[in-house]
């Protein structure tokens, strides 16, 4: 007999009798049900007449009954924009997401990614239980364990480190952490500085220019778009994929419709934003800085600058600027960018004439290049030159940080902060300390040369890489894409690596390096992954802890406000976490209790709601009202215009000193001299939160950082003023080479959403986009398959100049007429090999896929999906069904390319060759 052989009726009845006798005949399922599920003593269900009447009417209905469903406000987590939303909950399940009209940023709008939260909460392949691997790491062999067993093991390992005086060997590496400091509470209480992130993968290159100009508070800009009359967009895509895009897009359109505002876009491809612009120029990649500097030259030459504003608020003399800009003519910029000089002139003049109701927009498109930091500095300078900063319709400044007394621009706001006590962070790794002595000698030498202020912020090479001081001097942006290479080089030793919603194994540049390191138990002795799904990252863990989704958890919330008035919101659970998933806050609470040693006192709350209620205890409305609204703002508060001109209150001036040379006003707070304003024309005003209290168009920090790290002062990134030079590997670009760039779709968010079925149905593949003329040049027709091979970048970057290719992948080409002719572009969201059948595009599991060649990922397979009835049935775009399949993973072929000094990944510089397959 065999397990596959059918039972006869006689056998069934025989077995049924035996099973009944053994207790499976009646009553609730032993061990799987709560006592309440036992049938009533009446033997039946005890159904009332009413229920009997309706029982035959039970149907699988889909409609939401809005009379019964609850509407619960929360904050979306479909992407990092974090819109206020309302979730409809019926029968304990989230049915739908709507916008929250009280959110001043969105005014009730949402995008499709909001519904993605429902997808990722309920998809059948979500990880719902703690798992422990039972085979070699990465073998895919797991067993379920209890939470107690999982937490005991993690805590045991962490406790050994902490009690052994080696807390720094615990690394916490997160992808998207919106807990507003909760995880930092844990890492600080533990004593490790290694709370790493992926900021450098995202936006370090564009944050540093902002913080250099305007201070730490303004790492993200907030243009007053609704009132703007002229907007110049350098490579950003707010219509589609931009942190804050949903706040910006409607306002851009309102401005265009209601008062004829103009939008000009410089991009390498016809993005969604380019497509709605009044003018779109398909520029040469990484030429944004040349265009911006040329525009600045024109504005000065035409005397259209705001001289009074510049003299009052810029730290650079105008004459110095004029001289500096001489080489950057429109003709120069035309040669670099392909934009006609006449158009550069015309646009510059129109922009300046619209001032102050004009603004620049930029993001990754301009910044994620070797010259990108300088490009964004040049772009930011345009706003200062025309004096639109902080003006209606201009380049706004609104902090996205939580509200704290004394923070710039937050006067009068209620404080919103985590309950006390808060743990103090670890001590810096100053020369002579134990941790410092373990560093490589060349690192020690470099750090010894840092000024004391820098040494006071240094915490080792993983957290504060000494070659990239601008990645940590403002705040902890880190250089995430170098963590795994540094571990491989043994720059630091770790024992426990905890990843949290991190997609390094899929989404980092040269993700194969991350995978190689994560698989190596010598380099990473223990890996625990906290995640929602079985991601590529989680598949390389030793223990997986299932995280609650954003629909199942609490978080405090802050965001910069395009309504020009601060607001706050609350993320609250709409439903209980599914399965055994737990919010990360409770995971850390339990770990802290088990590790002990004083950690537990920072997590003494019985209920997460109580914890967040304490956060918001100073709000002028009740907690219940706040939960009911989801959002709070003070409608009477003046808009955030010209914060820098606000007078410093007399009370703050008591005991202050004024620097005679600079006018900076300082007071003593907690033993330190703190700048609170600047004396201008005899009046004490706030100024900007920079060292000079002015806008730092000239910033010596770049020179200082270059000198202290050994970067050549001739390198573009060492310039104290915004300058332009071509990306090193783009100089003398061979005619048969193209520049490979990536981009984002509006329905996806990084590599996190490839398995959201609704979204994967809309975008599930990533063809190689190019101009038809580019295709013709290479003898290609639409739909041809090509192999794209990438090469190491040049300049002062990782493994610079190595001759062998970085990697390659194959994809089909698609022609897009608006592309720049030297560019080929793919999106990066798809090509998963984990996350389940939707993420894989219905393909056969990876165990069935052939390896392309050593070190490479398996190519997308044309082999039919599993021929038994399979989950792939739902994936109508699968290759086995004649569809295009689930896309190609490209990140292994994209070189690690960390911007000198800043560390941001230069995603868009890649030189590639293509050949028809």
């Amino acid at each position: 007999m065999s397990s596959n052989d059918p039972l006869s009726r006689r056998e069934f009845l025989s077995f049924a009798a035996k099973l009944s006798a053994l207790g499976l005949g009646a009553g609730a399922l032993g061990g799987c049900t709560s006592p309440a599920s036992e049938p009533s003593p009446s033997g039946g269900g005890g159904a009332s007449e009413q229920t009997r009447a309706v029982k035959r009417a039970i149907v699988r209905e889909n409609a939401i009954d809005y009379r019964k469903a609850r509407a619960v406000p929360t904050i979306c987590f479909g992407c990092t924009t974090a819109c206020g939303v309302i979730g409809w909950v019926q029968d304990g399940r989230v049915r739908k997401i709507d916008g929250n009209p009280l959110d001043p940023n969105t005014r009730g709008a949402i995008c499709s990614k909001a519904q993605g939260m429902v997808s990722y909460t309920y998809y059948p392949e979500r990880v719902l239980h703690p798992l422990k691997r039972v085979g070699p790491r990465g073998s895919g062999r797991w067993k379920r364990i209890s939470w107690d067993e999982a937490l005991d093991e993690v805590a045991r390992r962490l406790k050994l480190l902490r009690e052994g005086g080696r807390p720094e060997e615990f690394v916490f590496h997160y992808g998207r952490d919106k807990t507003k400091g909760f995880t930092k509470r844990f890492t600080n209480a533990f004593g490790t500085p290694n709370r790493l992130n992926r900021r450098s993968i995202c936006s370090s290159n564009r944050r540093v220019p902002l913080m250099s100009f305007y201070g730490r508070e303004f790492e993200w800009e907030t243009q007053d778009l609704a009132r703007s009359k002229f907007m110049i967009n350098f490579g950003a895509n707010p219509m589609e994929a931009y942190q804050g895009g949903l706040f910006m897009a409607p306002r851009i359109m309102e401005a265009r419709v209601e008062h004829g505002a103009k939008l000009v876009t410089f991009e390498v491809r016809p993005s969604a934003t380019a497509s709605v612009s009044d003018e779109f120029f398909a520029i040469t990649p990484a030429s944004d800085g040349a265009i911006a500097l040329a525009m600045a030259q024109v504005i000065l030459a035409e005397n259209l600058h705001d001289e009074a504003f510049w003299k009052r608020w810029s730290n650079l003399p105008l004459d110095t600027l004029r001289e500096h800009l001489e080489p950057y003519t429109p003709e120069f910029a035309e040669a670099e960018s392909g934009v006609p000089a006449a158009d550069i002139r015309r646009i510059a003049i129109a922009f300046a004439k619209a001032a102050p109701a004009c603004c620049t927009i930029s993001n990754r498109g301009s910044a994620k290049h070797y010259n990108g930091v300088q490009a964004d500095r040049a772009i930011r300078m345009l706003d200062v030159l025309v004096g639109n900063v902080g003006k209606p319709g201009g380049f706004g400044l609104s902090t996205l940080r939580m509200w704290k007394k004394g923070r710039y621009g937050q006067d009068g706001l209620p404080e919103i902060s985590a309950p006390k006590p808060s743990p103090k962070g670890p001590e810096p790794w100053k020369p002579g300390t134990r941790a410092f002595r373990k560093l490589p000698k060349e690192v020690q030498a470099r750090v010894r040369g840092f000024p004391e202020a820098w040494q006071n912020k240094y915490f080792g090479e993983l957290a504060t890489p000494s070659e990239f001081p601008l990645s940590w001097l403002y705040y902890s942006m880190r250089v995430g894409q170098l963590v795994h290479p540094y571990l491989k080089e043994e720059r630091q030793q770790i024992s426990v690596y905890m990843s949290y919603t991190l997609g390094a194994a899929f989404g980092f540049p040269e993700a194969k390096v991350a995978r190689e390191v994560l698989k190596d138990e010598n380099l990473v002795p223990f890996h625990v992954a906290i995640d929602i799904g079985y991601s590529e990252q989680a598949s390389l863990a030793d223990i997986i802890l299932p995280d609650a989704t954003s629909l199942e958890r609490w978080d405090a919330h802050s965001q910069n406000s395009y309504a020009m008035r601060p607001y706050t919101g609350i993320r609250q659970p709409l439903v209980e976490p599914l399965g055994e998933a737990r919010p990360v806050q409770l995971i850390f609470q339990e770990l802290a209790r088990r590790i002990g040693g004083g950690m537990e006192k920072y997590f003494e709350f019985d209920d997460l709601e109580d914890y967040y209620k304490a956060w918001y205890s100073e709000l002028p409305i009740s907690w219940e009202e706040f939960k009911a609204r989801g959002i709070w703002t003070d409608p009477e508060r003046p808009l955030d215009y010209e914060l820098y001109e606000q007078p410093v209150p007399p009370a703050e001036l008591e005991g202050s000193t004024v620097d005679e040379e600079t006018g900076v006003i300082r007071v003593e707070r907690q033993g330190k001299q703190v700048a609170v304003g600047i004396m201008l024309d005899g009046k004490a005003v706030r100024g900007f939160p920079t060292p000079s209290r002015k806008i730092q168009v000239q910033d010596e920090i770049f020179v200082q950082a270059a000198k202290l790290t050994g970067l050549s002062l001739d390198d573009i990134n060492a310039s104290p003023l915004p300058i332009y030079d071509k990306v090193p590997e783009h100089k003398g670009l061979a005619d048969d080479r193209l520049i490979f760039t990536t981009f984002k779709w509006n329905v996806h968010t990084q590599g996190r959403s490839g398995h959201w079925k609704y979204h994967a149905e809309i975008v599930h593949t990533n063809p190689a986009l190019m101009h038809p003329e580019t295709g013709a040049k290479f003898g290609l027709k639409e739909g041809d398959e090509v192999e794209i091979t990438t090469y190491r970048p040049k300049g002062a970057v990782y493994r610079t100049g190595e001759e062998e290719p970085v990697g390659s992948f194959r994809q089909k080409v698609r022609f897009i007429p608006g592309m720049n002719r030297r560019v080929v572009a793919c999106s990066h969201h798809v090509g998963h090999w984990e996350h389940g059948v939707v993420g894989r595009g219905g393909e056969a599991t990876k165990a069935d896929l052939p390896l392309a060649h050593e070190g490479q990922l398996p190519l997308a397979s044309s082999k039919p999906a599993d021929e038994t009835p399979s989950l792939g049935e739902q994936v109508w775009w699968a290759k086995s069904k004649g569809g295009p399949g689930g896309g190609v993973h490209i990140n292994d072929a994209l070189p690690i390319n960390a911007q000198p000094l800043v560390g941001g990944q230069n995603w868009f510089d890649n030189v590639c060759s293509i050949r028809k397959v």
Binding site: S2, A28, S37, G44, R52, R56, I58, L578
Partner: protein, 188 residues
Amino acid sequence: MSEPRLSGPERAPFDRLLARLLLREPDAELEVLLRESGLLSRLDEGADQPLDLEAYAEEYTRLFLLPEGAPPFASAWLEGERERLGAQFTGFVHQTLAALGRETERAAPWGNLPLDHLGLLLDLSANAFSSEDPEDHAVGEHLCREAIQPWVGSFARALLAKSRLPLYRLVGTLLLQLHAEPTEEVRP
């Protein structure tokens, strides 16, 4: 199979067992039950050997808790939007609980699993047929017809194909015989 199918009450003990097998890994207690009922003798190999519970723990995880296997959720196997299907099943199970007079209970007595989990549906079916009230049996029939039958065949055949251990192949066989559409083949 030409023999008459089992009735709901006759099926109830198997539904309980199948639910148990789908909701948790086998343990020593279950092994005793399987052995004493004689079902272990139906397995391909090692009927007189103790179950390798570690191997079964791994297999359970592989099949039912990870994307590589056969997730036991209707929304994974039915055509249509997963979110809509999941919502339909949620409402359906709530209505069924109400019809069985259990509307005041917490709707997820099985732990907070999605309500399209086959183990929960089978347990609910067994509850309905364990009642002496024929109206409850009608509810059970309706549950099986609407919520189990349309997709259990696909799930069961996948289980038969993917299972590396005999007990879960037996689960697939039993599901096909007890719940699949009458016209479906019993063998893969």
